[in-house]
Symmetry: C2
């Protein structure tokens, strides 16, 4: 059994049974091994940003890592932006990056590059496996690292001769260490803060704490003490909807964030970081909390956040408190002009139970949260690293992980173009993804940001750099070109009808919402 | 004048007057400055690989660097694959990468990353400019480095506060050092090699040596001595066609390369590196020249290659030798089935004078060279680093550099998908690019490579990873979606007619050649 097959068997044995791929020559032995090993599903992407973004979406929903297969340094670089997002979502991922044969490196052939250097900024662990005897053990270690809390990116570089030489067979994957618990002292300190000044206290959560068990406990604490609970601005996965405790997010715009946080004298961080501006702006602070606020880091992202919240609930006597769960209330459908709110009404009204929302609607997306809080239980996935071009791949990966659930991808037109190739993979795999493209024909966020950074009265060239008209993108044509059926909605009635029909129909679909 | 404007004025003053952009919030002051400075043309790309690939194509034709404007680490990473190609083409380029304000870095906001770490594998020079007082001088240094032979990539990181604080005004750009000359001893040694064994000697050239002055001198040496002249497998820019000395290339497939080179007992390198396999294959050598061949490095890529060849021509008495220039002979048009050769005949028959060919046709492209050698004088641009996804952006950039010339982009369907967004920019800018997509609906090169690496009889999963059918890509739909008109050709007659019409019509066009 060669090194490549030893690695594939190690992956499957270690529970990594989906591989998103964009292979090249140096990965051919890995590709050939796929047919000799049962149990590895391979999903081809036509661009590496699709591959890494899909692996992110998959792992967020499957709660275990996917593998990616990438072609040398440039292939890894192409996947880099979505690796950045995955790193910021604490997504477990195992990247397999092919390389030249070890002995070929000295010749500096055209595709030679510093792969470890490219991998390092995006990876918690990077290793080049030097021989076919080491690759299985290195693969096992990559899986262990990826699965180590809070979820990490492991990048394993596979030289071609490491793949084709005789290997050892599969290696066993060690269990990662369990999540660490917080100390009794930390729980007591948080409880004391809540006792002293409950109304002035915010519990800021993210990660694991946004699963139902976490929000249940957070809701009980809030109900018992009168404190407030918020989530970070961006979170990898939030379980929410009717019958769950709704957690609002810190707003993205700096002025709104500061206004939302100004009355909190104490902030208890559970997985979250102290809220800071997504960007800096001249004359505005970087830190969003009130000056002098007491920020207490109760639990870091890698610790057991659910147990932390349950323990704190016990400590403040909140066990059995009547949590104000979200009532099942949906908005009504709009009529007339197609606005962002009209889209939001339709999404809130029509979203099916157990839906997965992949949200990269950027400016159009900020308003969607309130319209959907009373919709049937669903998962909401956000872009966590700010590197746009994640939405379509994220939806793709989530659909691979959860074939029985409907995925709703809410995507900006500017963002969607970065990884538009994801549509083809949705078609090939017959994935249940309804893609809604908010077509405002501009980098709308940047028009606001130009003003926010103090650059007023932009001229023609500046406006040109933020506009996606001239020519207008036709998303229905592009989708058809990649095998995905679609339609354009220009009124609320059209959008309502198209969304209802798309949700009811299996397979991928695209709606271009001209807003 | 703020730092951003100081930088833009430095760029324009230093001859960098085209900027390919994909900006975000941290670059808004740079964008705003564009309207206050005369003479900077800005070209928006909807994905960063388009931006860096276009800057490569521009510089190859303009013989001076363009700037790029990229959004933090992920934006730079998205441009990384085409930076790799540009590095391998020795293309001068100045990347401006926005970053958070310096004081905001400590908060590790979501888009924070190790930008210098991401830049280093692709750049000869990387610097973060810490203040608005340093940015103009740093920009001037970046231009000087980029323009230093053989052409280098300089990456300048621009923190937001460096852009918005008060700067110094523009800085003057120092002239880069002139190209070094080879030594008289080296010329004498090469001349002696040619005297002793002319028939057994190969002169292997690339870079500057493939401009007309270089091939003229190389042709004279060959005519006088009876040696042979070849170019590297991949070269950034080759001036060729009727009335010029034709230089064939070392073949890509290892067996063909070894067969082509086996009789040379001596190789004189002029800019080129000793020929090695693009990839390693089990049981095949990495070095393509005959064992024991004497490899003499006469000139490195950064030296004055044209003067080297002219000097060597003098030394061997080749001045005034009758160079066998290529006669003006075009192939006839084909009829019937649309094959790669039928496409090649049409391209050779119809290519207009002064055409620029951007060639990323991969498997389909290898055969095109002989069909076009007698066509009117033209430039041929290749992908030099093997990171596919360069062709469309390369054509775009060349068309920006040379608005009065027709650009012919020869693109594989697999390769084209990586940076398909380039079509939109071609439409927006009204560029004279005829895009021919060789639609074989597979990563055809990999089917051969699977065999070459010894993985015979691939199974269903392996073949799936190399196939682009299911669903077929419809390039005409995709192009229309981005504002580029197109048509599909399934017979030679259709292709001939469509190509002739597209060449005669201004603006961008796309032909999907189903082969």
């Amino acid at each position: 059994m060669n090194g490549a097959e030893s690695l594939v068997r190690t992956l499957v044995g270690g529970g990594v049974d989906v591989c998103f791929t964009n292979p090249g020559t140096s990965e051919m032995h890995f590709v050939a091994a796929l047919d000799r090993v049962e149990g590895m599903r391979c999903v081809l992407g036509l661009f590496e940003g699709v591959v890494t973004g899909a692996a992110d979406g998959y792992a967020r929903m499957a709660d275990k890592p996917a593998a990616t297969l990438l072609h040398l340094g440039p292939g890894l670089a192409n996947g880099g932006a979505n690796l950045h997002n995955a790193r910021r979502a604490f997504t477990p991922m195992v990247n397999i990056v092919g390389d030249h044969a070890v002995y070929h490196h000295q010749y500096d052939a055209p595709l030679t590059s510093d792969i470890e250097g490219i991998a390092r900024p995006f990876s918690a662990w990077v290793k080049t496996s030097p021989t076919a005897e080491t690759i299985a053990a290195d693969g096992a270690e990559a899986i262990r690292v990826a699965r180590t809390a809070p979820g990490q990116i492991a990048t394993l570089i596979l030289p071609a001769d490491t793949a084709w030489n005789e290997g050892t067979g599969p290696a066993k994957v060690d269990e990662p260490p369990p999540r660490e618990q917080v100390t009794r002292e930390a729980i007591r300190e948080a409880a004391e803060m809540l006792r002293k000044d409950p109304k002035g206290t915010l519990i800021l959560i993210t990660g694991q704490a946004l699963r139902v068990a976490g929000t249940n406990a957070a809701g009980a604490i809030a109900a018992k003490t009168g404190c407030q609970v918020l989530a970070q601005t961006s979170n990898g996965r939030t379980e929410r909807g009717a019958g769950r405790f709704s957690v609002d997010r810190v707003p993205y715009p700096v002025d709104q964030a500061i206004a939302r946080l100004k009355d909190f004298r104490q902030v208890i961080l559970v997985g979250a970081k102290g809220p800071v501006g997504f960007f800096a702006y001249p004359g505005k602070p970087s830190v969003m909390t009130a000056p002098g606020a007491n920020i207490f880091r109760l639990a870091t992202i890698d610790q057991d956040l659910i147990h932390t919240l349950e323990w704190l609930a016990d400590e403040v006597g909140a066990k059995g408190a009547a949590v104000p769960f979200e009532p099942a209330v949906r908005p009504g459908l709009s009529k007339g002009a197609l606005t962002v709110d009209a889209c939001a009404n339709a999404i809130g009204a029509l979203m099916p139970e157990n839906c997965i929302v992949a949200d990269e609607a950027v400016t159009s997306g900020r308003g969607l949260f309130p319209f959907t809080k009373g919709a049937p239980p669903h998962d909401w996935l956000q872009i966590t690293g700010g590197a746009i071009g994640l939405g379509l791949p994220l939806a793709l990966g989530a659909a691979v992980a959860c074939p029985d659930r409907k995925v709703l991808c809410l995507e900006g037109d500017g963002s969607g173009m970065y990884t538009v190739q994801a549509l083809w993979t949705m078609a090939r795999e017959g994935l249940n993804v309804v893609n809604v493209i908010f077509s405002n024909r501009s980098y709308a966020i940047l028009r606001g940001e130009l003003h926010n950074v103090g650059a007023h009265n932009p001229g023609r060239k500046a406006i040109d750099m933020l506009s996606l008209d001239r020519p207008d993108l036709n998303w229905v044509d592009m989708a058809r070109g990649m095998g995905v059926a679609g339609s354009r909605a220009t009124t609320a009635e059209e959008f309502n009808e198209q969304l209802a029909r798309a949700i009811a129909t299996p397979g991928p679909y695209l709606i271009e919402a001209v807003i």
